[in-house]
């Protein structure tokens, strides 16, 4: 079967950038990607990034240790606003993870083969983001060491979880999501780990990668089952990701609070999740592409495709913002209207308008081809969108909580040093994990790139 005609069928956009640049063979793809992990000849930019993120990871660790020693009171929370930065970050992280799954799973199902170049990124992003999303709510508990009480197990207390709580659903959704993400990622990684094992220069590399590769030998039977399982995991991941973020939104919508108690929340959150995840994928891809010189495999076409998807999500979000306001005023419920007005004009109104600017106004620049073609412009935009999406969650949480039904108990939320340090620390730790991953594992699926290469270029060598 020759590759070229299929390429034209799939990417029949005249003038579009190719998905692989340059003339590559199986060997050159392998050399390029595997050597990143095995040789580790890293540039200054890498070490600089590693240094900065390591410091932030230490900040994160210190913040969490201080939290465990002193208590939840180190944050700016109070008896009126019981959730703050941590839950904001939690929703933000899980959203980013969701989009990673979207890129890897949905695009598999939709046979978007250009995803091959970025799916490993996206999956790693998912895992690290979901790990953060798992860690933060546990740390947010008053007594994190009892988090296992959310799991059903036959214990000395004869007690079970309270199944009606969305937090319980959340516990299951996130756990399952993390497990599935890791399995999906690991399954895809197996052939590449075998490559590293077979090309390892050092004995320890050989042993480590060899152990992780589980003895993968590229048997046609392996590939046969592998492809079946991979497709099924993608198929399971797709509804899972929808359910996970629906459940996250129900953490809020299940309540009776004006501003949260709304049926638009699941699609609202899913749209937002895709949006912020795509932005984060770009935010990560663009510098990594530059640091590791992966321009051949991650081409302007990938960046443009992601940017266009992001623009589409921005419209989904714009729609939900409008619906939210419309519903509030149309409800004629005085509490709903008060919350809506508070968002528009209250003490935290700046978060609302910042959200609108970052998530609605700014992305309109993606309409311009020059913006789409410029990695730097895209990087700036996506970073701002990430900020905007974080602000949106903060706005949703804090503006709802700080003024609820009884004016007597209204109280503001003011973040403390530790709120900020935990937030920034978690960001740094995420990037650090990502850098380490990029350093020790193939950042692009070599097996998939080989297949993509033969299809795109027809070079069967």
């Amino acid at each position: 079967m020759s590759g070229a005609p299929e390429v034209l069928r799939e990417y029949g956009q005249p003038g579009a950038a190719p998905v692989i640049q340059g003339r590559h063979t199986y060997g050159s793809i392998t050399d390029k990607i595997a050597d990143l992990a095995l040789e580790r000849r890293s540039g200054r930019s890498f070490w600089l990034a590693l240094g900065v993120t390591s410091v932030l990871a230490v900040v994160f660790a210190v913040s969490l240790i201080y939290l465990l020693v002193v208590g939840t009171g180190i944050w700016g929370l109070n008896n009126t606003v019981d959730w703050g930065f941590m839950i904001t970050s939690y929703v933000w992280w899980i959203a980013i993870g969701n989009s990673g799954t979207f890129i890897s799973a949905f695009l598999v199902l939709l046979r978007q083969r250009w995803r091959s170049s970025i799916n490993r990124f996206a999956e790693a992003m998912t895992i690290f983001a979901v790990a953060m999303a798992g860690l933060l709510p546990i740390m947010h508990l008053g007594r994190p060491w009892f988090a296992y009480w959310l799991a059903p197990y036959p214990g000395k207390m004869n007690l079970w979880p309270q199944w009606r709580s969305p937090l319980e659903w959340d516990f299951f959704a996130n756990t399952v999501y993390l497990i599935l993400s890791i399995l999906f990622w690991y399954l895809g990684l197996l052939p590449d780990l075998a490559t590293l094992r077979d090309r390892a220069r050092h004995r320890w590399q050989q042993l480590t990668y060899g152990l992780l590769a589980l003895g993968w030998r590229g048997d046609a039977r392996h590939w046969h089952h592998y492809e079946s399982a991979y497709r099924l995991l993608a198929g399971l991941g797709a509804p899972l990701v929808i359910s996970v973020h629906s459940v996250v939104s129900i953490d809020f919508a299940f309540s009776n609070l004006p501003g949260w108690h709304s049926t638009i929340f699941p699609p609202y959150f899913i749209g937002g999740a895709l949006y912020s995840g795509l932005a984060m994928a770009l935010t990560i891809t663009i510098p990594i592409r530059a640091i590791f010189k992966l321009q051949d495999f991650i081409t302007p076409r990938h960046l443009a495709n992601l940017a266009k998807l992001m623009l589409a999500c921005s419209f989904v979000l714009t729609y939900t913002y409008m619906t939210e306001m419309f519903t509030a005023f149309y409800s004629a419920d005085k509490f709903e209207i008060a919350t809506a007005l508070d968002r528009l004009t209250g003490p935290y109104a700046w978060t609302y308008w910042l959200t609108i600017f970052c998530n609605v106004v700014l992305p309109q620049s993606i309409w311009f081809r020059r913006v789409r073609a410029s990695p730097v412009a895209l990087l700036i935009i996506t970073v701002i969108i990430n900020v905007g999406m974080w602000t949106e969650r903060f706005m949703l949480i804090v503006t709802t909580l700080h003024r609820t039904f009884l004016p007597s108990s209204w109280h503001s939320f003011v973040p403390t040093f530790w709120d900020w340090s935990t937030l920034i620390g978690s960001l740094g730790s995420f990037v650090l994990l990502f850098l380490l991953f990029a350093r020790f594992f193939p950042v692009i699926s070599m097996a998939e790139m080989r297949r993509l290469n033969v299809r795109v270029s027809g070079v069967d060598r």
Binding site: F171, K334, L401
Partner: protein, 933 residues
């Protein structure tokens, strides 16, 4: 933290760790419920009737003792000043007892000395004074109504005829006594009968907040404020400067600088005497109303008003035929030989003149709270031997040569009179924790009866009074009930009083025309409702209890009206310099809606410098401006704004209802016309639900809170705090919004900001049947029990805080830090029936579950049902006006069922279909105006 069971077992060992050696008093004490037997001391708590005094007036209490450890104060139902209720201060005094910062040792010039050393030195000194008859020996005491103290003092003065006894009390009844003298020629005290008065005019008399007998007065007052009863509702007029509890309760309130109130009183008296017209419509209405209720009306003046105003009030009552009906006069329960202010002034003059050789300060803190113009501290330097006796090493202790640790009132024997003269023999609950002495023991030195305990002396007093016959029986009876029967001071017969003398014809107060721009202002000193004159500054519960009408904790402030603040160009929390007669004090501004323009109120009792870690360095010291000539208000205040700020910890920032039907109120007329005005859709029939209702076949606990009766005194908040081991969190945490009170008293203002009408609303957990908190808890920490209580299982809680978010009433409280665990020194004080919550768990009101469980166990042991009233929640028990009723909703005859059958019954935020078990009775006011709001 030590384990509770261990504490139960080893209370003695533990109290030792708390800093002293705790054991029961040596002499037999008598529990409130008879049938005491030795075995029971190891088990259930016992209650002992005793009394706590303030300003010399006794407030009868029942003190709970858990295996010898006093843990809670309840009111004494048999005591006339209590009738079962108490004020926040009495609740806080249990913490005063256990305060680890109490003085532990005799000090000489700041160094630890011994009691024997002091005795030796004093004896020598007294020996030397003996020949001169004790010239140069002075005693300074607080006001006292104790028979024993009086007789011991008399005995001492008999041995030292040249010695003198002085009395000082910063918040005293001098004006009351002097006012009576102006009117009747004698020092007398009025006793009011609010349960008979249909029209009441208060001339800055805060009879609900700070008068002796206030707890009883609140109960009496509310007797005629029951809209569902057949009787007519009384109407209360208040004219005052700073809004007080009484002002907030008023049906018609006039804000006026304190100095103007005398003029108003004179004008009103004139109007009542000779008819004619008054200058203001308000006075006119009040006058008409008073006149139409002759014999059933009442005019009273507050202790801050000059004697002339009191005399005017008596005269008006006389004219209205109220004397003998709504007001009676008695000999002052406290010993009045001279006015407190004069007495101190005389002492200080002698001290300055070097005529004082040995000064015994038997209580009180004059270095801190004496009038600034007397310069007590400088005078003290001229006294060769000064001995301070007190609970704390306070400001005065630091300036005296000697300090003797005092025993707490719960540690000593004594006796005292209530506001109406009823006598109580005080019995101790525990032997002195820190080796403190009673004043009586110290006085033994003067009488030459060294070695006698307070018990011996009190016993002797009563042996003389009761006589030998049936003494033991009467003694035990008096101790058990907490009152000596039939000892109320008889009322002065009207014919003996004579006509209330008319004071001078001209306006009796210094002329105080309305304030014009640019003129100096007036400063008003009021007692802090909880710290009083400052003596309770070390009690963290009282520091953290939000002040009614300012909502401030941990600080006082220069309180002023919005208009004045605007005129001065100052904002909340901006520090201003207050200058009066060359003395200055800095205080942050706090704007109070309804405060009189032209005056600034600075509450007394703040700015302590030596009141332990808890009490020191909070607020501004008003005594620095207070002089003996103008102890309550003074003109000539200059306010200079500074650029600095002091953050004030207010617990509520918003006081408007914004059109939400939170407190539902109406006038009597509107209520009579439409009795179910408060009922909205959700109150008439529960909103439809998909779920079948749960059945509660046994008990179904419920609560009703009458907003008509609630006077906002916050006694419920602090009683709950004491009952449920609720920690205080400190100013920083209050500022962050983390106060822990399980029942808070919300205040909502309606009407113009210059003259708002305030309504109080106590908000505990509503115990919703459809509890929004429960369904969101992932670990079954917040669940319902079979009797409908929304329980919080602390040990199961992981602290997601979703429950608190989802609570529409925001009554859940989270232990953000180790609030309770960090005060192990208070472990011995804690209620052993209530789990001390750890860091990271949620807590909230549970209808005093421990009391229900205890009562249920007792009933089950006896194989019977609980009867109505057997379980009282702590908030219900303490409430002076019985606004809170708790009981079984399944019992058709229960008080709570009856209360809830009122057409005024409504559920807070009932539209949410939370089905709260706690509901409110709408607020009814007796205004002549249109329906408020």
């Amino acid at each position: 933290m030590d384990r509770r069971e261990f504490m139960k077992l080893m209370s003695a060992a533990l109290a030792l760790a708390a800093g002293g050696c705790a054991h029961p008093p040596l002499e037999p004490i008598v529990p409130y419920v008879d049938g005491r037997d030795e075995g029971a001391t190891q088990g259930d708590p016992l209650y002992f009737a005793t009394a706590l005094t303030q300003g010399g007036y006794a407030q009868g209490v029942l003190a709970r003792s858990d295996r010898g450890r006093p843990t809670k104060i309840e009111g004494n139902p048999q005591h006339p000043a209590s009738l079962g209720a108490s004020s926040p201060i009495e609740q806080g005094r249990i913490l005063e007892l256990w305060d680890p910062k109490r003085s532990h040792a005799v000090l000489h010039d700041g160094e630890i000395a011994s009691w024997d050393e002091l005795m030796t030195l004093l004896s020598l000194r007294l020996e030397r004074l003996r020949p001169s008859g004790g010239a140069g020996l002075r005693l300074l005491t607080l006001s006292s109504s104790s028979l024993t103290e009086g007789s011991v003092m008399d005995a001492a003065l008999a041995r030292y005829p040249q010695a003198r006894r002085h009395r000082y009390e910063p918040i005293n009844q001098d004006n009351v006594h002097e006012g009576a003298r102006l009117a009747f020629g004698r020092w007398l005290e009025p006793v009011y009968h609010f349960d008979r008065a249909l029209t009441i005019l208060s001339l800055e008399a805060d009879f609900l907040g700070c008068m002796p007998g206030r707890v009883r007065y609140a109960r009496d007052y509310i007797q005629l404020r029951r809209p569902d009863a057949k009787s007519p509702m009384s109407r209360l007029y208040v004219v005052e400067c700073m809004p007080s509890l009484t002002g907030a309760a008023a049906d018609s309130r006039l804000a006026s600088p304190s100095s103007r109130i005398g003029d108003l009183a004179a004008e009103l008296a004139e109007r009542l005497a000779s008819g004619g017209k008054t200058s203001s419509a308000w006075l006119e209405t009040a006058a008409t109303d008073l006149q139409s209720h002759r014999g059933r009306s009442l005019v009273l003046a507050g202790e801050g008003q000059p004697p002339e105003v009191h005399a005017l009030a008596h005269r008006m009552n006389d004219m209205l035929g109220n004397i003998g009906r709504t007001v009676d006069f008695i000999q002052p329960p406290i010993e009045v030989r001279e006015l407190a202010g004069d007495s101190l002034a005389a002492l200080v003059a002698d001290m300055h003149a070097g005529r004082v050789d040995t000064l015994l300060i038997l209580g009180g803190n004059p270095v801190y709270d004496a009038p600034a113009d007397l310069e007590f501290d400088r005078a003290l330097e001229r006294v060769p031997a000064s001995i301070h006796f007190g609970l704390l090493v306070d400001e005065t202790a630091g300036r005296c040569a000697w300090h003797v640790p005092a025993a707490h009132e719960l540690e000593t024997w004594g006796d005292a009179k209530a506001f109406d003269g009823t006598l109580t023999i005080r019995q101790p609950l525990i032997a002195p924790l820190y080796g403190g002495k009673s004043a009586l023991e110290l006085l033994g030195l003067l009488t030459g009866q060294l070695g006698f305990t307070s018990h011996d002396l009190v016993h002797a007093t009563w042996l003389a009074r009761f006589g030998q016959e049936r003494f033991d029986e009467r003694w035990r009876e008096a101790l058990r009930g907490g009152v000596v029967p039939h000892t109320a001071t008889p009322f002065e017969a009207a014919e003996h009083l004579g006509k209330a003398g008319a004071p001078a014809a001209q306006p009796p107060t210094p002329g105080a025309p309305p304030i014009a721009a640019g003129e100096t202002l007036e400063i008003v000193f009021r007692p802090d409702p909880y710290l009083w004159d400052g003596r309770y500054a070390q009690v963290a519960w009282l520091q953290e209890l939000p002040r009614p009408l300012t909502d401030l904790t941990w600080d006082n402030a220069a309180l002023m009206s919005p208009t004045l603040a605007a005129r001065l160009g100052v904002r909340n929390e901006q520090i201003v310099e207050l200058e009066l007669g060359g003395r200055t004090v800095e205080a942050p501004v706090w704007i109070v809606a309804g405060h009189a323009d032209g005056a600034v109120t600075l509450p007394l009792g703040w700015g302590r410098t030596a009141a332990g870690e808890v009490g020191s360095a909070h607020g501004a010291n008003a005594y620095a401006l207070r002089t003996s000539k103008a102890p309550w208000f003074a003109r000539g205040l200059r306010v200079t704004p500074t650029a600095r700020e002091r953050t004030l910890a207010s617990v509520h920032d918003h006081h408007r209802m914004l059109g939400r039907d939170i407190v539902r109120s109406a006038t009597v007329a509107a209520y009579r016309a439409k009795p179910d005005f408060a009922r909205k859709e959700a109150d008439l029939a529960p909103p439809p639900t998909l779920y079948p209702d749960y059945s509660y076949p046994g008990h179904a606990w419920g609560m009703s809170i009458d907003l008509t009766s609630c006077i906002g005194c916050s006694a419920c908040t602090i009683a709950c705090q004491a009952e449920n081991n609720i920690p205080t969190v400190g100013k920083e945490q209050v500022l962050m919004g983390r106060e822990m009170h399980w029942i808070r008293v919300d205040r909502y203002d309606e009407g113009p900001v210059t003259a708002p009408r305030s309504a109080f609303q106590p908000v505990p957990c509503m115990q919703c049947e459809h509890a929004p908190c429960e369904t969101v808890c992932p670990v079954e920490a917040s669940v319902h029990d079979t009797e409908g209580i929304n329980v919080q299982v602390y040990n199961r809680c992981v602290g997601t805080r979703f429950c608190a978010n989802n609570c529409p009433y925001k009554v859940r409280r989270f232990n953000f830090l180790r609030y309770a665990e960090d005060t192990p020194s208070l472990d011995a004080m804690r209620n052993p029936d209530v789990t001390v919550r750890m860091r990271g768990v949620m807590e909230k009101c549970n209808y005093c579950l421990q009391r229900i469980v205890r009562a249920r166990i007792v009933a089950d042991r006896e194989n019977r049902d609980l009867h109505d009233g057997e379980v009282l929640t702590a908030c219900q028990a303490v409430c002076p006006t019985r606004a809170i009723v708790f009981g079984d909703l399944n019992d058709p005859h229960s008080q709570v069922r009856i209360a809830k059958s009122s057409p005024r019954n409504y559920a807070l935020l009932g539209d949410l279909d939370t089905r709260p078990r706690t509901t409110y009775l709408a607020r009814i006011v007796n205004t002549t105006e249109e329906e408020p709001g």
